[in-house]
């Protein structure tokens, strides 16, 4: 018995591991809630675009010596606004020009980063994140993002559901569809930015999409879907961080791998259950 307790407690002897557990757990909650919308509305590409643009902003901030989160947030929110305008005009058919724009921003970011001495280290930290380097300030940013998201959803949850379900009906009834769409994209941007430090540009979308997709296999109500997505995200986080600690694997990638395994297992279970019915 005591060995199990020791096994579970050991990582917490290190304050960086404690911060990793706290930080990524908070991200899992935030990403589970926002990710439900992202997954249901097929916005994964949007999240990816925002993440790449945020990378450019992060590097710009690094070079200018301003707080990194501010640079990333500025680029991410600008992107969210641009995407809102674009989606109103073309219904998001413009993925070619989008892809060019964001991979371009990303490439500029890489070029900017290359002017710095520790290029390879910085790049890999930003691409796949560095969970173990989460600082207290990062956790405050995540908490702030969670608080803002909570306030927005408390006020506009039903409106966001309406425009996600039936945007044309919502517009005819007088809802400010463009503003609400922008709000939703901004929540995605906020989630992406505060998660970058932990999981990096490449994996951040997985934290939003995968737990929500697993949840969607089993529940048919948005509120429950969010709750199950949060539980999946939290369990993937904890299993992943323990595995990463004891197996010395990269933390962010381990968490995402566990989340992916959850989804695969969920899919198999779902197939089994529906076949029996």
């Amino acid at each position: 018995m005591s060995t199990i307790v020791e096994f579970l407690a050991e990582p917490f002897h290190f304050s960086f591991m404690t911060r990793a557990f706290v930080g990524v757990s908070l991200i899992a909650v935030l990403a589970g809630v926002v990710g439900a919308f992202v997954m249901l509305k097929g916005l994964a590409f949007i999240g990816d675009a925002i993440a790449h643009a945020a990378f450019g902003g992060l590097v710009a901030a690094m070079l200018l010596g301003v707080p990194l989160h501010l640079g990333a947030l500025a680029f991410a929110l600008l992107t969210a606004a641009g995407l809102t305008a674009l989606s109103r005009k073309t219904g998001l058919r413009a993925d070619t020009s989008l892809a060019i724009l964001f991979t371009g921003t990303f490439a500029l970011g890489v070029l900017g980063l290359a002017t710095r001495p520790n290029f390879a280290g910085d790049l890999s930290a930003l691409l796949v994140g560095s969970v173990l380097a989460i600082r207290p300030a990062d956790i405050y940013w995540i908490l702030a993002a969670a608080a803002i998201t909570g306030l927005v959803l408390a006020a506009a949850y039903r409106h966001l559901v309406y425009i996600s379900f039936d945007p044309q009906g919502a517009e005819a009834a007088g809802l400010p569809v463009a503003g609400l769409q922008w709000l939703l994209f901004s929540l995605v941007a906020l989630t992406v930015v505060v998660s970058l430090q932990a999981v990096g540009v490449v994996l951040v979308v997985a934290l939003m999409i995968t737990p929500a997709a697993t949840a969607a296999l089993f529940v048919r109500r948005l509120e429950r879907l969010m709750a199950v997505a949060v539980l999946c995200g939290l369990s993937a986080t904890w299993i992943g961080l323990y595995a990463s600690y004891y197996l010395s694997t990269p933390a962010g990638a381990t968490v995402v791998t566990v989340a992916t395994a959850q989804f695969t297992a969920g899919l198999a279970l779902h197939k089994l259950l529906t076949r029996r019915r």
Partner: protein, 258 residues
């Protein structure tokens, strides 16, 4: 009741409208008195959906004016409910029928006000009125096409919309489901509400409405169904392929030979 109500609900004057690269409708003049129902018929591409989108303010006229209750469409919005074509709505979205009906409140209450205590009772009453009280807790995506339409009409009731616009509501519905929908439309009219629906084939809906507007890029005919739906008009609207409803409730293509 609609009798004696002479207010004009929809007034379209000399309307020309289209998209960036092409004009779809030219020189449309049309009025719909409050408390009546109107069907817009015509072939695909004839401009039916374009007219509806102009009425809800999604498209702006290139020329001419549109007035809803005497106001520009954008200003008449809380009074309007629009049921887009079936595929425009994300039916896989995980919400229950009752949640969809409750959305009707969002149009007429400020965003900071949570739904009141009686909101749920009102939503249930609206579902009751469209004969779907038993389906309240089911995911809306699990309902049949006709039931989905009626859930959206219950939402319009909760919104207390005075003008209800339906884009191709009959598509994919069998004759019994079309009649269930018509019963609800009649019920809405009894409150003095105005109902406008488009359809690309002639079906139960068409001759059940108070007036018909036939569109093929321009107005081909308008008036009460028995006047508007004369063979020569239908020929002009649909070309030589005139869809007719048989006694069994099936739509057949009647090919007209001169």
């Amino acid at each position: 009741m609609s009798d004696g109500d002479t207010r004009i609900c929809v007034e379209v004057k000399d309307l020309t409208v289209g998209y960036d690269d092409r004009i779809v409708l030219r020189g449309i003049n049309w009025t719909v008195p409050c408390g009546t129902s109107a069907a817009i018929i015509g072939p695909n591409g004839g401009g039916k959906s374009t007219l509806l989108r102009t009425l809800v303010g999604r498209l702006r006229p290139a020329q001419g004016t549109v007035r809803i209750f005497g106001r520009p469409p954008e200003e008449a919005r809380p009074l309007m409910a629009y049921l887009p074509q079936n595929e425009e709505i994300d039916w896989r979205f995980p919400i229950r029928a009752i949640d969809v009906v409750m959305q009707g409140l969002l149009a007429r209450t400020p965003w900071w006000r949570p739904p009141g205590k009686d909101a749920l009772a009102q939503a249930m009453a609206a579902l009751e009125r469209v004969n779907l009280a038993d389906e309240a807790q089911r995911p809306v995506g699990a309902l049949s096409g006709g039931q989905r339409q009626r859930v959206l009409l219950a939402r319009a009731l909760l919104q207390d919309a005075q003008l209800i616009l339906l884009d191709e509501p009959a598509t994919g519905l069998d004759a019994p489901a079309q009649h269930e929908l018509l019963d609800v439309v009649d019920d809405l009219k009894r409150d003095g509400r105005t109902v406008i629906a488009t359809t690309h084939d002639l079906n139960c809906l068409t001759d059940h409405f108070d007036t018909v507007l036939c569109l093929r890029g321009e107005v081909v005919c308008q008036g009460p169904p028995e006047e508007a739906l004369k063979p020569e008009h239908l020929l002009a609207v649909f070309g030589k392929h005139v869809p007719l409803l048989t006694a069994e409730g099936r739509v057949t293509i009647f090919e007209h030979h001169r």
